[in-house]
């Protein structure tokens, strides 16, 4: 019973974290929320994996947030934002409304997934779908490298919760960790690209 309550708690936290990610503009808060998000991801993953294997996700997520944070902290604020990132509505009301619509979508779709994936619980499915859809929303709202990479990490975190229920191979865990870290490194590279004269690259 307690286990289920904690799982639902983690799912609610995931929704709160992703909504905050969508609304926050300060990169420090964004990365803190990303790191916090991985605690809930860890909890929902360890339901199907061993704690040690689920901990890989937590550590990888935190490492990704750290890599992005270290890179972002070295940047001049003017250089770190994309100049043409205003093609979509930026208002908070719009974002909250979209997030609510997504929540309704997740709430209506989640109950059908456990039929497809036997053994998976509703909290994991809800948490996973929340992360995936909110990740997609983040990707649709920006072209800034930092936010795009955070959107992709969020989306993948959601997928990993769902996939943990069907696949528990060590190689998969290792490759997914490599991809998460790789995404963070790519994000760092894209954040740094074009910010200083790096000389000839040929």
């Amino acid at each position: 019973m307690n286990f289920l309550v904690i799982s639902w708690g983690a799912t609610i936290l995931l929704f709160a974290f992703t909504l905050s990610l969508l609304l926050t503009r300060d990169w420090r808060w964004i990365l803190a929320l990303l790191a916090a998000q991985y605690i809930a991801v860890f909890w929902l993953t360890q339901i199907h994996w061993t704690v040690s294997m689920a901990a890989v996700k937590l550590v990888t997520g935190w490492m990704s947030a750290t890599v992005l944070g270290i890179t972002r902290s070295t940047l001049d604020p003017k250089l770190a934002s994309a100049p043409d990132d205003n093609s979509w509505p930026q208002g908070r009301f719009f974002r909250i409304l979209t997030a609510m619509l997504i929540f309704l979508l997740v709430a209506s779709a989640a109950p059908s997934i456990p039929k497809l994936l036997p053994g998976i619980g509703l909290p994991e499915v809800t948490g996973s779908l929340t992360l995936m859809t909110m990740g997609l929303l983040m990707l649709g709202l920006t072209t800034q490298p930092l936010r795009v990479v955070i959107g992709l990490l969020t989306l993948l975190a959601g997928f990993e919760i769902l996939y943990a229920a069907v696949e528990n191979a060590t190689l998969v865990a290792a490759l997914l960790a490599v991809i998460n870290l790789g995404l963070a490194l790519v994000g760092s590279y894209l954040l740094l690209a074009g910010t200083e004269d790096t000389g000839g690259s040929r």
Partner: protein, 466 residues
Amino acid sequence: MSAPLIWIGIPLILSPFLWIPRRANIIAFLGGIIALFLAVLAWFFPIDTPIRISATLSFKLADSLEILGRQIIISPADQPLLTLIYGLAALWFFGASAAGIARRLVPIGMSIIALLVASLSVQPFLYAALIIQTAILIAIPLLSPPEKKPGRGIIRFLIYQTLAMPFLLFSGWLMAGVESNPGDLELLTQAATLLALGFAFLLAIFPLYTWIPLLMEEASPYAVGFILWLLPSIAFFFALGFLDRYAWLRDFDQLPAVLRSAGVLMIVTGGIWAAFQRHLGRMMGYATVVNIGFSLLALSLFQDYQLSAFFLFMVPQSLAILVWSLSLSVLTLREGSLLFRARQGDMYRYPIIIMGLIFAHFSTLGLPLLAGFPPILATWGGVAEKTLVAALWVAVGVASLLTGAIRTLAVMVMSPKEEEWAINGSLLQNILIGVGIFFILLLGLFPQFMSPLLTKLPFVFSHLTG
């Protein structure tokens, strides 16, 4: 010693060392030689067969390598595929110095190729999606130079390619369920839908190809050309792996129609967009969309012609992309802009380079006597036998791409002022493009030169070749 160690381990280990030489042409030469050596080795060296060295000594190259409880297997049937991949990679690496991008393309390209070969060899094979994603992440520094702010093209490329992975992994899992319970139509539909979505992202199927023309504007045409050659090729082999493995998918009634529709859509939209472009890079981007469309069409004929039409495209398409992107890279290096208005009259200043560009364009749309003609004719004929409407739509796409080629040609010979003929560009650039044109003509006139490779390639997918 095992085969995965040679064709995956060695290039992966050597790739960081290729950063060391100071001169770009040495890097390009070393990369090309290594890739060529691996291609030759794949053609001649037997896997899993004992070789007698002396009376008491024999050597056998094992076909598998175990990593974290899973296996990477390169069987003797895979050898022609390795020859093709590493042989074409050698051409790309040799040309990298002339394109001015050897320092980035050769080391990064070598590791991408090694990873993509690993993706074709890993067991269970659906883990390939994870390895392909790793290769895509490595490709980002190649496509986005460190001195330039990332544009929309690279961001879209990263997003779309990353989105492919979850769909493919899930579809792979569902497919295992379908295999054990083939009567479950709901599961079958779900697996097929997820698989289609995964490959739509991975192969940049309409309308998910918007990153291609954007990237052609933002990045080095040679780097993008390399990715547009390698990534769809490996994605198609991965798709063939699915078809080869799952009997229900091969027998899926709607599959040829779905592949045909997607292919026609790619050819028509890519061709029509190409006809209206005023940027040489974007023009090539849309032509590669048409290339992917033709490969899909060829694949749609697998039930009648196995994979002969599909494999017939491999070399001509790669050669055309190589020559085209090298020509564009030379123009970018020397002139900067690839816009039509800035490139008027270039035929007088860069005759060989512009000839390369025009020949590659005409080969892509299947002009007779050029390398692209035999596969396009074969595929078009095959499609016409199935449905005449689709064949007519293909004609619309090809005619539109031809319009783009004629517009390019017109701009290149249209000089605002009196021009003197001169051969600009370095000797290496002109020689490489000249050799490329020669091979485009040679493969158009004598397509049977590819037959030793083409007869062996289909055996990689034994269930599809009967």
